[in-house]
Amino acid sequence: MNIVVCVKQTPDTAASVTVEGGKVTWGDAPLVLNPWDEFAVEQALRTKEAHGGKVTAISLGPEGAREALKQALAMGCEEAILLSDPAYASADTLVVSAALAAALRKLEAVDLAFFGRQAVDSDTGVTAAQVARRLGWPSLTLVAAVVAVDPQARTIDVERMLEETRQQVRAPLPAVVSVVKEIGEPRYPSFMGIRKASKAEIPVWSAADMGFSVPAPALTWPAIIAPPKVDTTCEMITGDSPAAIAAALADRLIDEKVL
């Protein structure tokens, strides 16, 4: 099977992210493979291991995003491609989804394109569905389990995690699948994988390389701001016994109309 996993490089979730002069900064915190995308890589690799074929990781981002692709290679992806173009500088999800769709078309005969549910920086969670719509492929988002892939019948069965239920869906291939954490723990890169990744050639495709004319983004971002400071004075509740503490706490919660 020809499997693709679309990944993004993001700041680590432990990073303290702030805004200075209208620009987002995360200090010295490392940039990592988007944690949700690790699950997508894991599922892509499992699908390959069960049915054969190869996994290609693609990422849209600046030169530095190579590091996220190297992580995907170290985990076991065969190939990686960086989609980089100055025209992506102010890209919104419309632009990103169009670029990813162009890459998937150029790769030809892709069976499955995996995504993480969302990126931990922009938090939109719409890109996978937009790529599917552009390609006319079924969109299977919030997938908690890939139940079966049938390469002969060219179908995939998944369980989607909606708020109220798990929806069991069968879709024809090719399809777009975005996964959630319930897929299972992502593997660690192996020593051999890390060595291979460090030597890997990662081609860069510009928009022109894909015959893609970059559309104008629909969205602009007038301001990025820090959230309003919450009242941080913590009132410590004390008492002679757990029962007295609990009673005092209940009193305060009722006084403040929380309960």
């Binding site: 109220e164 929806q167 069968r170 007038p222 301001a223 820090a226 009132e235 009722i254 309960l259």
Partner: protein, 347 residues
């Protein structure tokens, strides 16, 4: 009238879900500056009643499109129908609740109409005829304003629990344009449904009681003799602790949450995880038990209205964002709280 607002009503099993009615309220609030009326958009099978309900919540009219093909939600045919209606009526703004379904649906409609889509909006302002939405990024560590100035309709999905729900008024009247839809048959097939393992939905919950790594920290508990593995002993202890947390949650009608550390340690399933790589929640009351307050957890719950922290360590970062703090052993404090709330709230 060029400036129309449409509100998409999300539904499951015939019931409106997510902040659908809140979205009607938000649309009405924008009304004077943007539009003279609010149209509820209801797509599905056997959903006509939701149109009438939308009118009681303040929609001035409703459009209903039904088809047996739309009984099971699939984003493709729903997007086909919604895009068709928007092309016909050309509203200025489509408001939606943010749910798993609408995120996908809104994403697709935005592609069809080459417009912007903003999920999880927590506030909206009208600026020069366009809606500027504010939404959290980096799991709420920052907020961004977002606007599609040149595209119509704009698509904005509002976040659960970010806006008040309007009160329904059964005397309100409005026209309902109901018709059959004929979307192309979708390629996907729904095989069935499995009940979700979560109890009270975390994102909808008004009160959440969460446990962290500290829940396993009770040397007084002796695991059964047949458990010999140290890791399994730790998990067994944690499960006793989470039982206390569940009882406290039950006394408050609350949902049960957990930190990533507790989930990663195998104490409780991932559906319960609150934080940057779990659920982002905003309840009226959040009680954090044995959670130190790692930044990725705080990102998922910091917008809770009132935070109560119970922790052995007086220096734990969770106290920096808590309104009330108790320094103590959750194994003592949590059962005492359950007792008090049971008595006072009668649950």
């Amino acid at each position: 009238m060029a400036d129309k607002i449409f509100v998409y009503i999300d539904h499951y099993n015939g019931q409106a879900v997510g902040p659908s009615w809140e979205a009607v309220g938000v649309a009405l609030g924008l009304g004077p500056s943007l539009s003279s009326g609010v149209t509820a958009l209801v797509v599905g099978d056997g959903v006509r009643g939701l149109a009438e309900e939308a009118i009681t919540y303040g929609a001035t009219q409703a459009i209903v499109r039904e088809s047996a093909e739309l009984k099971d939600f699939r984003p493709e045919p729903y997007a086909d129908v919604v895009t068709g209606i928007l092309k016909e009526h050309q509203p200025a703004l489509l408001l939606m609740p943010t749910t798993g379904r609408t995120r996908e649906l809104g994403a697709m409609v935005a592609v069809d109409l080459e417009t912007g889509v903003t999920p999880d909006a927590i506030s909206l302002q009208v600026d020069q005829g366009a809606v500027v939405a504010t939404r959290p990024i980096y799991a709420g560590k920052l907020l961004t304003q977002e606007v599609a100035r040149e595209r119509r309709p704009q698509i904005v999905m509002i976040r659960t629990r970010a806006f008040p729900r309007p009160s329904p008024d059964a005397s309100k009247k409005g026209a309902v344009d109901a018709a059959a839809a004929a979307p192309p048959p979708p390629a996907t097939q729904v095989l069935g449904y499995k009940a979700s393992e979560a109890g009270v939905s975390l994102t909808d919950a008004g009160v959440i009681v969460s446990g962290g790594r500290g829940v396993s920290n009770n040397g007084r508990l002796t695991p059964p003799a047949e458990i010999t593995d140290e890791k399994q002993k730790e998990i067994w202890r944690a499960q006793q602790g989470f039982e206390l947390i569940r009882q406290l949650a039950a006394s408050l009608g609350a949902a049960v949450g957990a930190s990533r550390a507790a989930v990663d340690a195998g104490y409780i399933p991932y559906v319960n995880q609150v934080g940057q790589t779990g659920k982002v929640v905003s309840p009226d009351l959040y009680i954090a038990c044995g959670i130190s307050g790692a930044i990725q957890h705080l990102a998922g719950m910091r917008t809770s209205k009132t935070i109560v922290a119970v922790n052995k360590d007086a220096e734990a970062p969770i106290f920096k964002i808590a309104r009330f703090g108790v320094v103590g052993d959750l194994y003592d404090i949590v059962p005492a709280m359950t007792e008090v709330f049971r008595t006072r709230l009668g649950k």
